[in-house]
Symmetry: C2
Subunit: 167 residues, 2 copies
Amino acid sequence: MAEQAQFEELARQLSAVGAVKRDMGRILPPDCPTGSAAVLTLLGRHGDMRMSKLAELLAVDMSVTSRHVAHVAARGWIERHPDPADKRSRILRLTPAGLEQLDELSRRTTHLLAERLADWTDDEVNQLIRLMTRLRDSFGDCRSAPLRHASVAAPVLEETTRTPAST
Amino acid sequence: MAEQAQFEELARQLSAVGAVKRDMGRILPPDCPTGSAAVLTLLGRHGDMRMSKLAELLAVDMSVTSRHVAHVAARGWIERHPDPADKRSRILRLTPAGLEQLDELSRRTTHLLAERLADWTDDEVNQLIRLMTRLRDSFGDCRSAPLRHASVAAPVLEETTRTPAST
DNA sequence: TATTGTTATACTCTATAACTATA
DNA sequence: TATAGTTATAGAGTATAACAATA
């Protein structure tokens, strides 16, 4: 078990990694934002699946998944087939166009990472992958229960400040 | 230098870590979202600073920083003092209330991480911190230039699908 | 003219709740 | 009644551009 200072630092780095994610997002094709890219990537990696399964892999609510899926389906990158076993379900499947798009995504992210991580060793990359995977596992599906402590709401001042000076 | 498959996997994990971040965000006090928490944390760690410096540390546009700062200032957690050396600038400083809030944030995130990472060794946590820090450094301030390749925009079908069945 | 911040606007991601169709 | 998926709505984060004040 680690100490408090370590956890604080980890929280900091976790927050900071957002900058890296945004950087990755900037090189995506204009009509393929991160949400769409995640859908395509997971379908490419795990094969055909139902909405609920995809939502689980994305670790977001199914309503969110539904939107992302509608986006990629509208562009012809996936098809939604009725599930013969359960007419409520839909089986998602990449189309040839979707595979092409996936290749393009792979090219771009790989290119960016190869450039940025040029001085990383093979082993370091693997270590990072391993630890991040473990981190995910440790958080599991825990959609952390409310848990909210007694919260001390501070009074809002709404100081409608204009430009510098003043307080 | 690592291989393509590794980079793809790293990209995947980078995307997936969002779930962990969201989990962390859920335990924050209601009026202190992640943006506010980041502002308080950085001010606590690096001391008083100007808007531009904070924007750099947050790795977001200054317009975004301005909003976050306005939020925490409105709640009395920081003060914006005029910079005697440059009247355009404002020096940000935590207030006693801000320090209290920062303590509360630390308690909550530490508690959550201690719970989720109960079976991690001290060393593993340090490794992850080290590698994530290195990752950040490798991406540096690189607000990755456009770089956009020739993009093949797919035709939008906008299949206004209702419920299952159909394609 | 260039820089520091603020504000308006727009886009993406996410969650909650209400709803349809099926189990 | 319970589950799979969709849609409407709202909140948070971010970026771009226009703007004010100062350098």
